[in-house]
Symmetry: C2
Subunit: 278 residues, 2 copies
């Protein structure tokens, strides 16, 4: 009895994303890290123009000092222990401050490639939808597992942004595709499966790359992605102030940025504190 | 059976504060706002030299977007609704990231002058002590109410920093004392009662005051405080990068700073986000 309602909910959410892409000249920002999960910083990001936010469970693990983790590598190991209820609370709070025009996609335990069995039930998708999420930020590494997530998410009106990685990735964050041809093929499979936004993990080694540029191999992979699908595309990983223009020039629709924002917030706090200590 | 244990716990905590004061030339920083409650920013503050942190319930209301509040004035109205368990979780997380050498004092519902009956039981003090708090940051406006808090806190090894305000304060954050003579008198009463650190609310109007200076009336009130007690003293409210030196010159031992740090973090996030949006 809610199929049409949820289709309508998803259409409204899709429009938020396309509107953000068009408003920002073809490439918008998905603002994450502290700007995704702390309502004070989410407000600052929106005031600066951000129209898409992403709270996620590893960042919340860092925010809460969960088990004393202080870096993303350590947070990735224990992120599945963050209760889904906590992510629902974060989402609800950010939504209340952000208002309804901002697109919010959420990383939740079970939505990434977790190290322990972390199963999402129908109730879990419903919870996140009711908490105010427009979509889920998904980092599955298997097409079948991803398909299950997409089906259940759509049932409760949640869109999906999912990613493509490489089989050799140390931290697996996407469906593996090792050549540009495979990227194009996997992207089409994801689009046909109903994935709403398709991203590419771009945080590989930048060794030997000039500041402000991106490696040729990443350029080729991004090109393969943007040319193969009609849905909005994302790039996540390694995007900073210096190379953002090079990313923008590839035609990718959404830049996922967390670390570069967190680093500036941390630097600001450090500089502020130093003023009050001799 | 824990009286001596708790006395020992409190001695260790007192030493942390005196060590911080001495390490910073007589005036140290109590870092609050986002640097008190977000483990990522607490880590940054400590790396910059902060040795005292203060998570508090109105700031957590803002961090969580609780009921959509986006400014401290609105947060003060609903802060008593933040569950004590949430403050215990925040404290525990910040403690795990900060390590044991950092002094942590916590603002909790019932510890301030709340608009609804918010009663702290023995179990509540025990909870905060076990969560890793060294002390409680208390803003009661009545000496009898404050005395109850001090007694129960000490029972569970928690020190108390409490404050002096004015009877005309719009937001009451301290025991009222309208003249420097009254400040000295109230401070002595608080010291005799067992308050471990005595603060003065200094966030009154700075109208007509030159940048970098503090109003004569505040200088006189601070002087009355620092000359009347032996315990460490604090100033809270209106302290910023420009006037911190003037505050330092008064001989106050601890500067409580939140807004000035939050403002810089928010500015940094805004500036960061702008880099990724055309």
């Amino acid at each position: 009895m809610i199929k049409a309602d949820m289709n309508r909910k998803m259409e409204i959410a899709r429009k938020k994303v396309w509107d953000a892409i068009h408003a920002h000249g073809g490439t918008t920002l998905l603002s994450t890290g502290i700007s995704g999960d702390d309502a004070r910083m989410a407000k600052a990001a929106i005031e600066a123009g951000a129209r898409m936010l992403e709270p996620n469970h590893p960042a919340v693990a860092l925010a809460r000092g969960y088990k004393g983790v202080t870096n993303m590598h350590a947070a990735e190991q224990i992120r599945h222990e963050i209760p889904l209820q906590e992510m629902a609370k974060v989402t609800s709070g950010v939504r209340q401050v952000a208002g309804n025009d901002i697109y919010i996609t959420v990383g939740i335990p079970g939505g990434f490639t977790e190290v322990m069995p972390t199963i999402l039930s129908d109730e879990d998708f419903k919870l996140m939808s009711l908490a105010g999420a427009d979509g889920l930020h998904v980092h599955k590494t298997d097409l079948k597992d991803l398909e299950e997530v997409v089906e259940r998410a759509h049932k409760y009106g949640l869109l999906i942004d999912a990613y493509i990685g490489r089989s050799s990735d140390l931290h697996p964050f996407g469906i593996p595709a090792d050549t540009p041809e495979e990227v194009a093929k996997v992207a089409k499979l994801m689009e046909n499966m109903g994935v709403d936004f398709i991203g590419l993990m771009t945080g590989m080694s930048y060794e030997g790359t000039k500041a402000g540029e991106i490696p040729v191999i990443i350029q080729e992979r991004i090109q393969a992605l943007v040319e193969s699908v009609k849905v909005p595309t994302l790039a996540e990983g390694g995007i900073n102030i210096v190379n953002q223009k090079a990313f923008r020039n590839t035609g990718i629709n959404i830049l996922v940025v967390g670390t570069a924002i967190d680093d500036m917030a941390e630097l600001a706090v450090r500089e502020a504190v130093k003023n009050f200590i001799p």
